[in-house]
Amino acid sequence: MALTGLDIYKLLPKTNCKKCGRPTCLAFAMQLAQKKANLSDCPDVSEEAKKVLGAAAAPPIKLVTVGTGARQVQVGEENVLFRHEEKFYHPTGVAVTIHDDLSEAVFNDRLKKINSLKIARVGTEIEIDLVALINKSNNAEKFAEAAKKVSGGSHLNIILSSASAENMKAALATCAEKRPLIHGAHTGNCESMAAVAKEKNCPMTVTASTLEELADLAERAKKAGVEEIILDVSGDNPKEVLQKLTKVRRAALKKNFRALGFPMIVFVCDEDPFQEVSLASTYLLKYAGIVAVNACESWAIMPLLTARTNIFTDPQKPIQVEPKLYAVGDAKEDSPVLFTTNFSLTYYTVEGEVEASRIPAFILSVDTGGTSVLTAYSGDKLNDKVVAKAMADAQVETKVKHKKLIIPGLVAVMSGKLQETLGWEILVGPREASGLPSYLKTVWRA
């Protein structure tokens, strides 16, 4: 449980010496409680205080890293149950499975397909993070051979899944430098699997059918020397899986229950890819650190990755696009020019509609601090001067031969002043972006 400011105050020297830069020890304690200060700022703090505060400061859900380098996946270290309370920090890792008993050609094809699951939408590229290699053959040699192929043939991080510690050891020998996640430890093989993971300093999962057993198993893995543990809560009953995810997250955050203070993984498997992705998305939204699916088509993976992008967006921060002039389609000197704000949701909605109209156009994204048209207008972040500056910065008059600017219908009221300031003809566009295709096809063309 997090310590309150008063709890912390009791552990401080209470000298009000100001050496930490705060007026009193109490003020310092309050800032510590809000995580706005570091204990090391106090030169006189006792060893005992360091110990107590240090333990309390350890994150309730451990951060686990799979892989190495820029592409590594980090999960855990979450602080809240609901994103509006703060935000979710470490986006769920998305894994796609591959079996080691596939024929060579099928295996290579699937790996190639998994590698290509990169999807460009609304200006960013989203991608899966991991390949989960399953030791379906139960054969050590085959598993090791497949692991070698995945390691050499994919840029993605790796999950190795086998119930046999022997097989795991053989496979890990081919790709330990990639720091894969070791999946397959259960109550019958926990120590032997942990020895394999520990030897190569790899993160490891533990699997059990109840949370009680899972907590026991996590303790055993820890005793056996594995630091980075992920709890496997996969199961056949979706309701049970969903409830386990919530129970573990709550136990860690609200009860500071260390034995379950780890991120979670769920393997989702359903014959129907619609059902599989539905469950995977559900688990992703409600606390899974990693989800693994069999689905391997871009149409199935794209919504899953998009759900992740949405839910891990910082709710306090409006997302912005770069304020500049964007050309949609083959925009030329006689193409229409529209402006909107740099709030990404607003911008991409406008861009989507302009694209749908199939009329090439320029969209000027005006810097309003990432707020929508009406919000920006009411807050005076969108006025004739702001637009004029954006037009000048983007050198719009060098891009087109005409002097006509289409403005959002919601701010029709600023057209008079804008016309004066800019010396351009102002055309009032539709109030909603959805009206743009018909506006461009009729009003603009006319």
Binding site: A120, R121, Q243, A259, S278, A307, P315, E355
Partner: protein, 319 residues
């Protein structure tokens, strides 16, 4: 090892609403639908009654929709011109729990049809199907205020769910629904404070709180879904902690919003890298729906039969 009990204790609950009226209670519906009643966060029945299962309302339009992509229009190709047959197909073939009639054709820009047309369509649907009915105006204030009262009277006693009222335009429809025994949808686009304000305004007209459903407008997956998600999550928590003005069941408009997105509606030739529209469209609607379900939703408006089937099965498995 013993695990700590993590069940939260909630003092409040989502209010319970029954939609539709059978012959015994003055209507002609073959069955009614009850929603709401949750005393736990969604699907967590270990801490309390999770309430009634979320239901799916399938959209039917009074005029053939103009902008539906081929993938979406195909399953309804034989009925798009006939709202009654369309509703029948949704209920009998696609398992719709409710029908949501969207009165698109009364909008001044989309046909400007009059009350006679709307009343005729409503009556034909009431005659064709036995499920409760949602009736959704065109969201043009003057036109809705002219047409919706007549529609309301024509369906008097059927306990339909009528929408929508906003903080700027609520008096006419609230008064009519009160008189004709219907329930009401209050709309506040992505704003939790206004959501509460509309509920207060409506209740000040003596409209019973247990006949209101809230609508915060819906962001599709990839297009603001998280805004809707967090507002609904906050509303659900407010209801559970006892805020009576926030305890109404929630409705989402998933179908319409999901099928407006580029991901759902683009032709295969435009976006070959995204896969075939036959899969891409329905799954975009599906994942928008299942995502929002986790935030606390009681009625989901949907369109594509495959999305409806997947979401209903998913609800059954999680509930």
């Amino acid at each position: 090892m013993e695990i700590p009990n993590v069940a939260d204790k909630w003092s409040g609950s989502v209010s319970e609403i029954t939609l539709g009226a059978t012959r015994d209670s003055g209507g002609s519906r073959q069955r009614t639908i009850t929603i709401g009643g949750a005393k736990s966060v969604p699907f967590m029945n270990f801490e309390g009654n999770p309430g009634h299962k979320p239901v799916v309302a399938m959209d039917v339009y009074d005029i053939p929709p103009e902008d539906w992509p081929e993938t979406l229009a195909k399953p309804f190709a034989d009925v798009l011109n006939d709202p009654a047959q369309w509703a029948k197909k949704c209920v009998e073939q696609y398992g719709a729990d409710l029908i949501c009639l969207k009165l698109e054709g009364i909008h001044p820009d989309k046909g400007d049809k009059g009350a006679d047309h709307a009343v005729k369509v409503v009556k034909s649907i009431l005659a064709a199907v036995g499920v409760p009915l949602l009736i959704w105006g065109c969201e043009h204030d003057e036109k809705d205020n002219e047409v919706m009262p007549k529609v309301s009277q024509a369906a008097k006693g059927e306990n339909c769910l009528m929408g929508v009222v906003t903080q700027d335009n609520y008096k006419t429809l609230t008064a009519t629904c009160l008189a004709d025994g219907h329930s009401l949808i209050t709309l506040a686009p992505v704003d939790i404070n206004i959501a509460k304000q509309v509920n207060i305004l409506v209740s000040e007209m003596d409209f019973p709180l247990n006949r209101i459903v809230m609508f915060q407008s819906t962001g599709a997956l990839g297009y603001g879904m998280e805004y809707t998600y967090s507002i609904q999550e906050r509303e659900r928590l407010a209801a559970l902690t006892g805020d009576k003005m926030m305890s109404m069941p929630v409705i989402c408009d998933v179908g319409h919003e999901a099928w407006r997105t580029k991901e759902a509606k683009s032709d295969d030739s435009e976006v070959p890298q995204w896969g075939p529209s036959e899969e891409r469209g329905p799954i975009w609607e599906t994942i928008t729906a299942v995502s929002l379900l986790q935030s606390g939703v009681d009625i989901i408006r949907m369109n594509h039969p495959r999305a409806v089937a997947t979401v209903k099965k998913c609800i059954d498995r999680l509930y």
